[in-house]
Symmetry: C2
Subunit: 801 residues, 2 copies
């Protein structure tokens, strides 16, 4: 014990000496230091397990961006770690998806999938039980006050109760003999579970952004809707008494509500020339009214809605990102406080504590590895970690680290004599040569021509060639590296799929081959996309698209929530009114889509009967059609014909919320994300502190010292060669780069075997990028007053942009 | 002469002494100074007329943003001034408009306006003659090299020659007996005259911006079109052999070109559910193809097109504005070089030269006025103008300056006893009170209700009340101030119009009153808009819209150029094929819109016959309908039916250029302009150096010292009270503010009668605002290397935003 204490102090002293200019005060009062360092005796010995666990969990929270608060005691932390375990999380995801998918089987069920209501209710109950379990689990490791202060938890609780209430009332309702069919009214709320569990972080953030954006656009929307009302009044006065008629004989602007409906539809352009034609046929000057209306309400107001949304979206996004960075810092600062050693007003994490920490946050790593990480974090070469350096830990953990032996291909490891044989080397050189790539690009073009002129005979040849390409690349690059490139994975999936499908088609002599043929065809045509991936100018755009891909899915989720809500509501209202029976039926039951009210309607004439709400899948397709907007008024008119004009409200609300607001927010997101990503790909990229340190030490993969680059004898300047993300690197001999010596001022020879993956053209998540962008704007110590700070900054930014 | 020289030197010496710390070197070499100041003797005396003229013209150029280069000699400068004279400019505008309007009278003429071809040709010749005169005028005062280096001049020249060639060939052609009707092929080029005369500066700038944006979006467009081609191939394979049919019996994806046409139309959403329905009726899974296609090509690619355009637009806009600022500075620097006096390495414009200059640039101003302007420019109180201060001159000239006597109402001036009588004062107090405003807002609402329930009887009452409102305000505020507010002008126009129309209606007992009734109705309804103008939250948005109004017209001009081009081309191709005869004609000549090929077409069934190219007005309406996009494929199908499928090319090119590119640039413009304006209205505004100096001196209208504001005895701090642009100022007693003493550190009592109009909520042109924003980024002396500078800056900005 005493020995350890001395060791600790020695180390701390050493660290302090290394700090340089500040050592003068260090030998004042050793006793007070020991007091300060440790509140009780245990701090002198290596950290106890609990503190280590707490600190490790906090750091992993910071790395993963988890924001749940929990009681900082071992028992609860272990419970929290279990809460975040893979199985429990995926069980939740499964339950959420399963709960939503129940709509497939419930009353207006997909044909052939109907289950009695008690069946789906039991399934739903199982889901609810798991949700309850999950909630009580969180309740266990959180302070009661914290738990109940969180609106999300209350929300989940209320929804569970509502659902149970709904089930009971439904059972009673359906067993009582009434004319009104029972309604499962809690079903539209189901997607709210996604938003309110802490695991749906991304989608919740998107929703929060939407919620914050809405108040700002309300003014514009009111102005816009008012101007529609005003124009409606005007149109009514202008056209009401002239006796114009639509081509199908319907009255033209006959009352105020029809007027504003027609004009609202006109803003969506869905009835564009049609609504104008009767008046225009009468006098050319009436066209002026519609032109002015469209310019004001469509081109100006809709653009301003987009502008307002975009403006607010940007503002909110910045705040969101800053909040996230702030949370990360707070977690790390907390971890630091747990781990720190205090010595003469200097707080730091010593080397020994660092090694202990690494065993928790990166289990199973070698000592070299641990040392190297420390060296990178320790920006001032003091051999201890100050708070400032420690706060970069989460960034460091984001950077991938592999050892050189990982980068050997399996073949190279096991049959080095064959793999490194002269012939093999020639082959590798050939595969890496650009002629190899050009040849296969040409092959794709030829394949495209063959597909266009419907010549399927040669497909075996193409398939064989592309398979050869994949195998060659796999041989040269090794499985791991091969799979790290998007276009290779793409190839494997497409060609592999085509291969399998072709074999199945070949084996299967039945007549049901048509489905396989379709799939094959898709795979054959999709192969052509690779052509664009091999042209550099398009690659930047495609790479950008791939990078913002994950965020697309977030917004896909947001839209799904709205779709699900409206689809369920739509099914409750409109289900069964319109059914598709084909269009040549003469039977009274099945004529006019099963509803004689559709006789003579445009809906029937345009053959829209399949656009109905008879099951969740059909409803979703209708939702999508309504989102695309065109002819939405015709779809609406069909349901109005079979119910009443009040049905327009449903379609109006859907359009306003999903198209005007959500879709514009989606556009705003793409605008911002695309501009951001594209800029980062074309402009020298932002570097985090950690990355610049890694570069400084020459430890990135694909890095060489100038000495190697120009083969000259001197110059330690480090340059970054094109790394593996760019296509040209296919030709760079990675092995050479990796095995070379890194001779820097600092002797890192023992870490030679370790390399970091630094991505020049970022394949990073947009979120990480955003965080890096704003990190510089946050003061390191000033983590507390982020709110005021961000407000000030907002003003500055607004004034600037 | 000698006296003047001494005076000059005295003054300069005085100025130098005022400069402060730099006087030590001033008494070294007086002889060299005199040499340096003037190349010849004339510089010692007040400036000669020529120099003054040159400098004045340069300054006015800088103020007006004119960029034409001319020979700096009196003769040519006078010619240049004449070139810019009101009459010659408006004659040009008239000729441009007249030349374009000839399309009304030429062959497919508006019914009843047809003129034989020699008639329009003579008119066109007159226009061409004026263009030639204008061009040779510019040729006269420019260096030949400069003139021919300007692509615009060459362009105009070539177009004049082409037009004449076209006329000759048309005359020959129409007198030779051929089957092919003669074509006036130069007509689509006419709008190019607008762009290529130096007077169409704004519109040319917009075009330049478009031209610079296009190369950057070409990649995205190629990728987008390629993916349409790819999906077309896929759709063809998928649907070709299944024998689906559209509801009207047309084949479904029968060949490749139809496939890509249908899919291209689908990207515009115009045929949205229709194109899917036949396949969807067969199997639900086919819907997936269309959903994926729309997500990729519509939601992702079209958003990316917008993102790319917006990104580049912003970049180009910044460069444009910087160029403009740079040009302005260059002109001012040139003027400074002409006017400067050099004294001991200090260059400046002396007071005497300044007074001379003012007589040129602001003729007829009093001495006080001149002094005041100097004081404002002279930021360092040196009594002379250094180059740095002089460069702000253009900004100063942008700020309006009026004398207090201007601000007296006519009544106050001529009948002060009545106007300032106690009863009159009560009345003024009443009118300025908010109850007065609320009462009339209420009246508008009541009026709206009356209009809605079709109660016209009370309209006389409303009209009378609103007239009373206008007259009261006019009495209180005086004509000039009354008219300086948008909503007042709006009122006068609307109510005045309604008044006149009502009287005409009253006098006119014939049956042709219907037209007047329509106008009256419009005026009555439009009045309601004022309601929004009186609600503050909407006022910000509306004010923003009004501010970016002028720029709307610029883009309106751009779109007009495209419309005109496509309309003329369309008329040459499609004129006469389709004619509107009503839809119940049984005569063989007039059935099916005069073309039997339209039988059974959707075009005819939807009653689209009036959408034709039979005259320029109808063509313009078609252009607008095509811009709105909805049903454009139906319009196209009509013209395809009466000609051939090649006609699709015309509609495709129109859509790609006008909708995908121009309309997105328009959206980008609104995004940028709206965000900019809105930010400036909600955030403390940017101030130019000049404006802050004016405020510092307390010379803005509506400014008072703190002393007045709190009626206390001390505190000279200046605050800016709400100025006249905001609605609340209606209640502020302007008279009081203006007549109060401005007691500042500097004694400005003699300038008491002068006030500057400073606009807090900017009614400035967006351009001026933009210039102010970027002015700070330009180094004052470093005007030469703006190109490299702006490039660097661009990168920084990109990395930042």
């Amino acid at each position: 014990m005493e020995r350890k204490k001395n060791l600790k102090m020695d180390e701390a002293n050493e660290a302090i000496t290394n700090l340089g200019g500040v050592t003068t005060e260090s030998n004042k009062d050793n006793t007070t230091i020991t007091k300060q360092i440790s509140s009780d005796d245990q701090k002198e010995k290596p950290l106890d397990k609990e503190t280590l666990l707490l600190a490790g969990t906090l750091i992993l929270d910071a790395k993963g961006g988890r924001n749940l608060e929990y009681i900082l005691r071992e028992k609860y932390v272990r419970s929290y770690i279990w809460y975040n375990s893979f199985y429990l999380r995926w069980a939740l995801y499964f339950c959420l998806a399963f709960n939503l998918s129940l709509a497939l089987f419930e009353h207006p069920a997909v044909p052939g999938a109907s289950i009695p209501y008690w069946g789906t209710m039991i399934m739903e109950l199982v889901c609810l039980c798991y949700f309850t379990f999950r909630l009580s689990h969180a309740f266990y490791f959180q302070y009661t006050k914290v738990f109940f202060k969180d609106a999300k938890n209350i929300c989940v609780l209320v929804m569970i109760l509502l659902t149970i209430l709904d089930m009971i009332s439904y059972i009673i309702w359906s067993n009582v003999d009434t004319d009104v069919p029972p309604v499962r009214w809690s079903r539209p709320l189901r997607p709210l579970f996604i938003i309110n569990f802490p695991d749906g972080k991304q989608i919740r953030r998107a929703f929060r952004n939407i919620r914050r954006t809405i108040p700002d656009i309300v003014n514009v929307l009111i102005l816009f809707l008012s101007s529609v009302l005003l124009f409606g009044l005007f149109a009514l006065k202008l056209f009401n008494k002239r006796g114009f008629k639509y081509p199908n004989g319907e009255p033209y602007f006959s009352n105020y509500f029809d007027s504003i409906w027609d004009l609202y539809v006109l803003v969506t352009t869905a009835n564009n020339p049609d609504v104008m034609m009767p008046a225009y046929d009468e006098s050319n000057w009436f066209a002026l009214f519609f032109v002015i209306y469209l310019i004001i309400c469509l081109y100006i107001f809709m653009s301003i809605v987009l502008a307002t949304i975009y403006n607010n979206y940007k503002k909110n996004l910045k705040n969101e990102v800053k909040q996230a960075v702030f949370q990360k810092r707070k977690k790390l600062a907390k971890a630091f406080d747990l781990l720190k050693v205090k010595h003469n007003h200097h707080e730091f994490v010593s080397y020994s504590r660092w090694t202990q920490l690494v065993t928790i946050i990166l289990p199973g790593r070698s000592e070299t590895h641990t040392d190297l990480l420390m060296k990178i974090l320790d920006h001032d070469n003091t051999n201890v970690l100050s708070k400032k350096n420690f706060l970069n830990l989460a960034d460091l953990l984001q950077v991938q680290l592999t050892e050189v032996k990982d980068r050997l291909t399996l073949l190279e490891k096991h049959f080095p004599s064959i793999y490194n044989h002269r012939i093999s080397e020639y082959f590798k050189f050939f595969v890496r040569h650009r002629v190899f790539r050009y040849w296969f690009d040409l092959l794709i073009i030829v394949n495209a021509v063959f597909i266009a002129i419907d010549l399927d005979a040669a497909d075996w040849f193409f398939l064989a060639m592309f398979t050869v390409e994949i195998l060659s690349k796999l041989y040269v690059l090794g499985g791991k590296e091969f799979m790290s490139r998007f276009w290779n994975i793409f190839d494997v999936v497409i060609i592999g799929g085509a291969f399998v499908a072709t074999i199945i088609e070949y084996l299967d002599f039945d007549n049901k081959e048509s489905n396989i043929k379709d799939i094959l065809l898709v795979l054959r045509v999709v192969r052509l996309i690779k052509l664009f991936g091999s042209i550099k100018r398009f690659k930047v755009i495609l790479q950008t698209l791939i990078n913002i891909g994950p965020s697309f899915f977030t917004y896909g989720g947001v839209i799904f929530v709205f779709y699900y809500f409206f689809a369920i509501v739509g099914m409750e209202i409109f289900n069964g009114y319109i059914t598709y029976y084909g269009y040549d039926s003469e039977m009274p039951d099945t004529a006019f889509c099963g509803n004689v009210k559709l006789n003579n309607s445009i809906f029937y004439r345009e053959h829209y009967c399949n656009n109905n709400f008879n099951d969740i899948l059909k409803s979703m397709v209708v939702m999508f059609e309504l989102t695309v907007v065109n002819q939405w008024h015709v779809i609406a008119s069909g349901f109005v014909a079979v119910t009443s004009k009040v049905a327009r409200l449903y379609f109006f609300v859907f359009h306003l919320s999903c198209v005007v607001i959500i879709l514009n927010i989606f556009t705003a997101f793409i605008l911002e994300a695309f501009i951001l990503e594209y800029t980062l790909q074309t402009v020298p990229r932002l570097e985090s502190v950690v990355e610049s340190k890694i570069k400084e030490l020459g430890l990135g993969i694909g890095m060489k010292t100038r000495k190697h680059a120009i083969q000259g004898p001197s110059g330690d300047e480090i340059i970054l060669v094109e790394d593996e993300q760019t296509e040209d690197t296919d030709e760079v001999d990675n092995q050479q780069v990796e095995t070379e010596d890194v001779d820097n001022e600092i002797d890192l020879s023992k870490e030679k075997g370790l390399k970091f993956h630094l991505k020049k053209h970022s394949r990073k998540k947009t979120e990480v990028l955003l965080q890096q962008m704003f990190q510089g704007e946050l003061d390191d110590d000033d983590v507390d007053d982020i709110e005021t700070y961000s407000k000030e900054r907002k003003l500055t930014l607004e004034a600037f942009t």
